[in-house]
Symmetry: D2
Subunit: 87 residues, 4 copies
DNA sequence: TCAGATAAAATCGCGC
DNA sequence: GCGCGATTTTATCTGA
């Protein structure tokens, strides 16, 4: 009495569930691989004297819409100046 | 033989465990309360025309060591310029 | 020409902004303190043989509504069995 | 007419930096795509009556080492019973 | 081994 | 109301 393809004495379609779970798992595996690749790039860059932390910031800045980025920069400047942050 | 209040036949000192857990829970409750207070401050500020997102950045900038902050700013400038980010 | 007595060359009411930011900072400081207290409790518990990771799970389980918790448990059981997870 | 490979009046090798950043960006883009695919799978599963939250737990359980998983389960049981959590 | 940084997951709040 | 995006919390990993 394990799982029988036909009957399904519970309300689950086991094969469908299994298929979904396995698809997710394959995709997660790919994602993990890519994440490792990214780490390697940063490690290599670090080995050549670049600061990975700064690089990460640059990457995230480049992903922003230029206009939004400028506007945000301006606001930070404005608020920061108001508090003497950059004095 | 299940668990009787008096004997304690498993390896756990239940009262000690319970005390730890309850201490954590009280502290977590306090933390939650404060987190809500913080949200309220931002909400109030927003109601008066301040941008909460920018305020959060300002708060986090102010928490950094000024020297570190300046150095990081300079590096971002350097890397960003090298890539034409601020052009 | 409201806010800053002397200069006021920008549209910000500096004192209001400063007040908000400082309120947030005080609250953040309290939150940090409490977070440290929580860590200490776990560290002490660990020193007495309790597993902090498990304790965290227990704390989060206790925060859930009992009915919800039971329902979720049942669903995990159901899905897990369907995939032979607990075999 | 912007960055000249030869002169380098700053300490950065711009092309090397640019190459690293662009490699990261390509990989990040792939990662994002896969993350979206994963969301789609969960959405589709949800459309067929499966609970995505539970599915995520199942996926993460399946990624654990079976022995570790059993041990953790047992500990949660132990601690939970000690606090009357499952009563 | 422990703290700090990074990444993942869960939660929350907004906009459609 | 529901998905989407942002924030926060949790867990993992690295380096001291």
């Amino acid at each position: 009495m394990t799982d029988t393809p036909s009957t399904g004495h519970n309300s689950l379609n086991n094969s469908a569930l299994r298929a979904y779970v396995e698809r997710v798992e394959r995709l997660e595996e790919e994602k993990r691989t890519i994440a490792e690749d990214i780490k390697e790039v940063y490690a290599e860059a670090k080995g050549n004297g670049y600061d990975p932390k700064i690089m990460r910031k640059i990457v995230s800045l480049r992903q922003q819409d230029p206009d939004k980025r400028k506007e945000e920069r301006a606001l930070i400047e404005l608020y920061g100046d108001a508090l003497g942050l950059f004095a």
